[in-house]
């Protein structure tokens, strides 16, 4: 079975490019940064070599007192007859020397404390942050002045001054490094390293520091500028560098009364300080942009400056509500168009589903209809709405359509709503676009709409903020807002992708209600063919920017024409189909035994009403055994505890009660050395291939790391090659970096890494949910193959029943931290016993229009838990 995404690999002839080199390229392309670098280098060279070349020393007294600039003295002389150029160069030397030293001290101290603080968290972090707070309460100048003054009678040497300033400035670096470390700490590649058995020091210095390096560099560069200003300020006040030595600040201080009479004495040092700090800041900002290029920021308020070359306007065809003719969208610099000559139409009241995987162009098409293509996109072709060309409208003209005639629902409800406005306020502003409305009337209508969406306590919700409700409710509120002005068209862009499967059913219901009430047409965009079976009237399948097939829904499912559609249909999960029949095995030796495992968290006090119960029962009495070579799949939605179960089994966290016994060793209560030993035979594959591999390491380093940690460096290279071979990746991958591979390939690398030490147990956390449907199939098949070839056991966690069903011998279903059902895969899928399992199975849409429509309108399986039959309380005592 060929891996479909190797084409990209083969076309690369050039050497693999590290992120550092990419950053260097970006820096070079930034004109201000280069200018700053040039000026800075010039100034440094002058400061270092100038005094050697210039024939006046800075202490030398010449007979020309207070002379304005001449050829002999290009910057004039001061009242004592000293040459200003010599003085200024000496001053620059001092400033650069001191600032450089301060930056180094601050960088070293700040990085060390920041990484330790961010990595360990908890008490260590709190202590270090208190120290930072402490240091921050002291105004630098005050303390530096006093210490500098007291430490020696004749003023302090440059080193002393540097030490004092460094000891006060490290805090900004520490804060920054800590912040970044805290966010990195939770990333899968750090967790993977811990699971592999890496020690804390190794993780901090081989994984954290290189990934924080860019922030450190930027922050240190900017610190040099601040240090120069501080040192010159101190010298100005008389507490920094003192006579007979000189500093730019001292020079300015001496020139205070001479600003108008002998301006060269005042302006030369001042302008130089400005020049140095300015160039440092431009270099620093340039570095920051080079290391962390943000995705080109968009501004949807700008009247779109999309270039357009429309052909002669054809008379818009038919009475279709939306008609798209030959639409092409090209991004500058891309070799092929993102959307390529598509023709679509949506009739009034019709539901058109646009199906495709990532990169198919489906979202861009919907953005084109709503007039929100990203800046820089070049659009050709026509987009007609109700027989009018809406391709050339400006912001004001668009407002007549948006919200009123075309309503949009976006994918992630947690980011669609404004976090600082109440729900009521957001409803009201949507009402107002059609004219003034009283506060009370707006509330009344909003409540009405929310009740339609089956939202309980709508009155209370109006005064709440988005973060106070769950994803399903948020999305239903978004749908309610879409209904306000009875739009002609509702565009729903992956409305359920971010939600659990049971919540998905509720949201789809809400969409159905919205359509019925408003008689709106709907453009439903998704990657999940099964979803469209129940709602769509017609389906258009997109791939690589083109529409490969467009038919009404029944015909499409019954007689798909295009090979891509056929493939997508075959990949749509059908439950009740082939379920892995467990290979008959003799009572296998128990590899992993989880006994009465529980974990409780305490909610922060601020989130609980006083006197309320603060305990969160993340895991409650979980009990199961896993035999050698067996695959156990755990299914659950968000909040079920499946992730907590994984992290506890992996040893990332200690359980509150219970045991995790792996190969006879109690992992939860073993010491570090024993756990590391056990780690040899257990490995993990995480969900998101984009964050589970350290972006700074080559594939070789990534694969060899487990071997290095366990001291098995003999034959490492051969093992790595063998592992790559097993996951069907070429050996040329070894010298590449993760960012050069696609998602599916990265997941293969992660699997290869998990196989390096021939583990007995591989723990898989949602191994395919972050991948496209067609790639998912490949990875699942790969996992199946690997299982058959070796005796490895899988502990698989997923929210997708189909994935679990295919690979697992046994299935466990979790809800609310408890295992509600555990049994053979076949039994669970065909004859589930627990009401929740039944509800879960029912919520999965069937990729068959006839069956799915019948299911939706027929008798539904009751949801669980209900008031009458709730989740039993956790039997574990609370302490």
């Amino acid at each position: 079975m060929a891996t479909p995404d190797l084409a990209r690999d083969r076309s690369r002839e050039e050497r693999s490019v590290s992120r550092f080199r990419l950053a260097l390229r970006r820096f070079r392309a930034n004109p201000m940064a280069i200018l700053g670098l040039v000026i800075l280098t010039a100034l440094v060279l002058v400061a270092v070599f100038g005094p050697l070349v210039w024939h006046y020393g800075y202490t030398e007294i010449t007979p020309e007192l207070s002379s304005p600039p001449t050829w002999q003295h290009p910057l004039g002389t001061d009242t004592l007859g000293r040459d200003m150029l010599a003085l200024v160069m000496r001053g620059m030397q001092q400033s650069l020397l001191i600032a450089g030293t301060v930056a180094l001290i601050a960088c070293a101290l700040g990085t060390l404390l920041g990484v330790i603080s961010g990595y360990f968290g908890g008490l260590v972090d709190a202590t270090i942050m208190r120290i930072v707070d402490l240091v921050l309460t002291i105004p630098t100048i005050a303390l530096a002045a006093f210490l500098g003054n007291s430490m020696s009678k004749s003023g302090v040497s440059w080193l002393g001054l540097s030490l004092v300033l460094g000891a006060l400035f490290w805090t900004s670096v520490a804060r920054l490094v800590r912040g970044v470390s805290l966010s990195l700490r939770d990333l899968p590649f750090i967790k993977a390293a811990k699971v592999m058995g890496a020690g804390n020091a190794r993780i901090m210095f081989r994984h954290l520091v290189p990934n924080v390096a860019d922030h450190i560099i930027v922050s240190t560069a900017l610190l040099v500028g601040v240090a120069i200003l501080s040192e010159t300020g101190l010298s100005f006040l008389g507490f920094g560098v003192r006579p007979p030595d000189t500093s730019l600040g001292l020079l300015i201080s001496n020139a205070q009364s001479a600003v108008l009479t002998r301006p060269w004495m005042f302006y030369a040092p001042g302008l130089l300080i400005i020049l140095i700090v300015l160039s440092i800041n431009y270099v620093g900002e340039g570095l920051r942009d080079a290391f962390n290029p943000k995705a080109s920021p968009t501004n949807p308020l700008v009247t779109s400056r999309i270039l357009r070359r429309t052909k002669a306007t054809k008379a818009p065809a038919s009475d279709a509500l939306v008609s798209i003719d030959d639409l092409t969208v090209v991004f500058p610099g891309a070799d092929k168009p993102a959307v390529s000559g598509i023709n679509l139409s949506v009739a009034k009241g019709e539901v058109l589903a646009l199906v495709g995987e990532s990169g198919s162009g489906k979202s861009l098409t919907s953005l084109a209809i709503a007039g929100l293509l990203p800046i820089g996109a070049v659009q050709t072709g026509q987009v007609n709405f109700d027989s009018k060309d809406i391709g050339r409208l400006d912001f004001r003209q668009w407002r007549a359509y948006r919200g009123r005639r075309i309503a949009t629902i976006l994918q992630d409800p947690s980011t669609s709503l404004n976090p600082v406005l109440t729900i009521g306020a957001q409803f009201e502003e949507s009402f107002r676009i059609a004219g003034p409305i009283t506060h009370a009337e707006a509330r009344r209508r909003a409540v009405e709409l929310m009740e339609l969406m089956a939202i309980r306590n709508p009155e209370a919700r109006l005064d709440q903020y988005p973060h106070q409700m769950s994803g399903g409710i948020r999305q239903r509120i978004v749908i309610a807002m879409a209904m306000i002005h009875n739009p002609d068209l509702i565009i729903a862009d992956e409305p359920t992708t971010a939600l659990d499967v049971t919540v998905q059913a509720q949201v789809l219901d809400a969409l159905r209600v919205a359509r019925e009430r408003t008689n709106a047409a709907m453009l439903f965009i998704t990657h999940d063919l099964a979803l469209v079976a129940g709602i769509a009237d017609r389906v258009a399948v997109m791939r690589n920017g083109e529409i490969v097939e467009q038919q009404d829904v029944f015909s499409l499912f019954a007689n798909p024409r295009d090979p891509y559609t056929i493939r997508l249909l075959s990949l749509a999960p059908r439950l009740g189909g082939d379920v892995a029949t467990p290979a008959p095995r003799a009572a296998g030796e128990t590899l992993l035994s989880v006994e009465n495992l529980s974990r409780h968290f305490l909610r922060p006090r601020s989130q609980v009403a006083p006197g309320g119960d603060r305990t969160i029962h993340a895991l409650c009495g979980i009990d199961f055994k896993l035999a050698r070579g067996e695959t156990l799949g755990i299914v659950g939605e968000s909040g079920s505890g499946k992730t907590t179960l994984l992290t506890t089994v992996l040893g990332l966290y200690r359980p509150t009660t219970g045991r995790v016994v792996f190969e006879g060793v109690d992992l939860a209560h073993a010491d570090a050395a024993t756990r590391k030993q056990a780690a040899r035979h257990m490995s993990v594959v995480f969900q998101d291939p984009y964050t589970s591999l350290d972006p700074r390491m080559t594939v070789t380093e990534l694969l060899e790391e487990p071997a290095r940690i366990h001291g098995m460096t003999q034959g490492m290279r051969k093992r790595a090659l063998a592992a790559l071979d097993r996951v069907r990746l070429p050996s040329s991958a070894l010298e590449r970096f993760p960012h050069e591979f696609s998602g599916g390939q990265r997941q293969r690398i992660a699997i290869a890494r998990a196989l390096m030490l021939d583990p007995r147990l591989v723990v898989l956390d949602e191994p395919v949910s972050a991948l496209d449907v067609s790639i998912q199939r490949d990875i699942i098949e790969l996992l199946g193959e690997l299982k058959r070839d070796s005796d490895v056991a899988y502990l698989l966690v997923a929210h997708d029943l189909a994935v679990v069903a295919e690979l697992s011998d046994r299935i466990g279903v979790m809800y609310g931290g408890q295992m509600v059902e555990l049994g053979d895969a076949g039994q669970i899928m065909s004859a589930p016993r627990h009401p929740y399992t039944r509800a879960l199975l029912d919520a999965v849409p069937i990729p068959d229009p006839v069956l799915e429509r019948a299911r939706l309108t027929g008798i539904r399986v009751p949801s669980w838990p209900t008031a009458a039959d709730p989740l039993p309380p956790c039997p574990i005592h609370q302490h």
């Binding site: 430490m151 500028g225 300020g233 100005f236 800041n281 968009t298 669609s416 404004n418």
Partner: protein, 328 residues
Amino acid sequence: MLALIARRLANSIAILMLSTFVVFVLIALAGDPLGEMRDRQPPVPENVIHAEEVRLGLDQPVVTRYFRWLGGVVQGDFGPSVKPNQNIGAELAPRVSVTLRLVTVAIVIALVLALIAGTVAALFRNRWADHLISTSAFVLIALPSFWLAVLLKQLGIAINKASGYRVFFTVGDVSVPAPQDWLALVGDMAGHMILPTIVLTMIHYASWSRYQRTAIVESLSSEHVRFAVLRGLSRRRIIGSHVVRPALIPIVTVVALDLPALFSGAVITETVFQWRGMGGFLLESVANRDANAVMAWLLIAAVAVVFFNLLADIVYAIIDPRIRYGHA
């Protein structure tokens, strides 16, 4: 909410105590306040030096001295100064209000200007308005405050001389003798404040405006702004409630963190414009190696910083509903 405030308050006091202790020790170890006396020629008799030591409490171990000092402070007594017959507390009190005047006005003006400039620069990103605002901000950040202060002062003097008329006040925080009438007094103070405020404001306005620009640029790219556009809201409403409002929150912390820098800036500004504020007091005390005076100064500065941070935390908690209301 109240619990949050109470906890932060307790935290702040703890930090304050710890900070004053550390600084006290540092200062005590840093140098000998009587060093100058010991070096004098002809040599000062031993018993005089010893008497001075006892007066200043230098014969006791550091920790004891700290607690004695702390005890005194709580009662308003900052301890003996190197300059005999100087009551540190009485000397500092009026100076605090002088500096506070300068610092508060500077913060308010700088903040307002920064919010406006940052927002405008972000909304017109990469157009001429942005280039103008950003470049001037960069230059201002690189500008040494003392240089700007001297420049403005001399320019003010020159303008006064050229026009023969007192256009700018360049010396002191208030005229001597001060006008009695309340309104005239305020006007007089305001006039004296113009130049120093410009100095202090410019530097901080520049860095805060850069920060705000970044915040607004990010806010413009956020999903909820895109959603607001798709709902057909007016540009004004979107910019006001959806772009700017959420982006206002983080700058509160930035301003609070910058306060010590503001104090340092105030020291320099007061020195140049010869204000009888805390800045002048500090410099004198440092020059005299007056440990108790410097401690008093640092204590007041630390209290101000801690208080402002506490205030910022509270304001943050009020305006960010995600902190104010946990999860329902």
